[in-house]
């Protein structure tokens, strides 16, 4: 496999690794949510990389005949799902961050470690 053909996969691992590092080392709930979004964006690169075909058109045939070589529409649909889920889950996590800040007075995840009944 050429370096060019492997690059998107390497980018996936790169984004995933650094996003995970950000989550583990995070000192702020908002920062943590953004890191989670970075982890998730690695899946976009992977999905688009899998379905991509060199020189092919987008899977939209308003102006082409249906026999034109096109990239895979299935992974694109999956990625659309991915984005919508990410946006709403981040909103939910940010609301949790607001509540955590109200109850502990801090946005530091390690300040919320103790459980209180």
């Amino acid at each position: 496999m050429s370096v060019y053909g492997f690059l998107p996969y390497a980018l996936t691992a790169w984004l995933f690794g650094w996003g995970l590092y950000g989550i583990v080392s995070s000192r702020n709930w908002v920062h943590l949510c953004i890191c989670l979004a970075i982890v998730q964006s690695s899946t976009y690169v992977l999905l688009l990389g899998i379905g991509y075909r060199l020189g092919a058109a987008a899977p939209v045939f308003a102006q082409f005949s249906a026999s034109t070589a096109a990239v895979d529409p299935v992974v694109q649909a999956l990625m659309l799902t991915d984005i919508v889920v990410e946006a709403t889950v981040v909103a939910l996590l940010l609301a949790l961050a607001v509540r955590a800040h109200q109850s502990t007075g801090s946005l530091d995840p390690s300040a919320s470690c103790e459980m209180r009944g």
Binding site: F6, Y9, V60, F61, V71, T88, L92, A95, R99
Partner: protein
């Protein structure tokens, strides 16, 4: 666990995961050399069997329509969660120790003229663009999700270029909540068309229409409309929850 030990442990784990991803990718076909077969099977089906020139929309709302129903309910549940979480804050805020997010006694700077004029100028354009996106989902790239998000930016733009009070007036909570429920219910209703016709749930039983026109695609068109409504109102509801939070704080500060 101490910070150092945690960093070492996490570092080992992350290095391992990254190694496994790269190792797994070595045997994948090089990017750009797509092997199929699903994309090549679905593409002609979308155009000839479903009269939808946008294959992505046909996949989302027809071939895997039931998944999109689930996805729509993830959105619905998340919005519900945010609203519930932030609605309780009224009583929580009565407690001590809530820090203000701005300095006491300093007036909020008014919105700049550039933001105000650009924002209000964009409103009409975005309504048009969002509606176009939602309705043309089966013809050109776009659809309910994309168009819904664009439509949801309209009240947000009004909020940016005017005030939170006007935002609440043009997007009354009752109406937005009703719209969100109608969007979620509408998807199920379109799915039930199939059951009423005596076939499977979400089967494309509506006349397919002419390929490349607004009606081409059958239920895909209707599902795009319901999802557009659901996504637009869902995102506005999210913003309302956060704006409410700020408004309540401001009202308390004025008291």
């Amino acid at each position: 666990m101490s910070g150092g030990a945690r960093a070492v442990l996490a570092g080992l784990g992350i290095a391992g995961v990254v190694f496994v991803i790269l190792w797994g990718a070595v045997d994948l076909p090089a990017v750009g050399h797509y092997l199929g077969p699903y994309g090549d099977v679905v593409t002609p089906l979308a155009v000839f069997a479903r009269h939808s020139t946008d294959a992505v929309s046909a996949v989302n709302f027809d071939f895997r329509g039931i998944d999109t129903l689930g996805e729509e309910f993830i959105l619905f549940t998340s919005v519900l969660g945010v609203t519930l979480l932030l609605r309780q804050s009224e009583e929580g805020a009565k407690g001590e120790g809530e820090s203000e997010d701005r300095a006491q006694g300093r007036p909020t700077p008014s919105t700049g003229d550039a933001v105000r004029s650009f924002g209000s100028g964009m409103v009409g354009l975005l309504v048009l663009f969002g509606t176009y996106m939602v309705t043309h989902g089966t013809v050109t790239p776009g659809g309910g999700f994309q168009g819904g998000v664009i439509l949801a930016t309209v009240p947000l733009l009004v909020y940016l270029s005017s005030s939170a009070e006007i935002f609440e007036r043009i997007a009354p909570r009752r109406l937005v909540e009703a719209g969100e429920s109608a969007g979620a219910f509408g998807y199920v209703l379109v799915g039930l068309f199939g059951v009423i016709a005596g076939v499977e749930f979400l089967r494309n039983v509506v006349p397919l229409g002419k390929t490349g026109t607004l009606t081409g695609g059958g239920t895909t068109v209707l599902l795009n409309l319901t999802v557009g409504l659901e996504v637009a109102t869902g995102f506005v509801l999210l913003m309302l929850a956060f704006v409410d939070e700020a408004l309540q704080r401001r009202r308390r500060a004025q008291r």
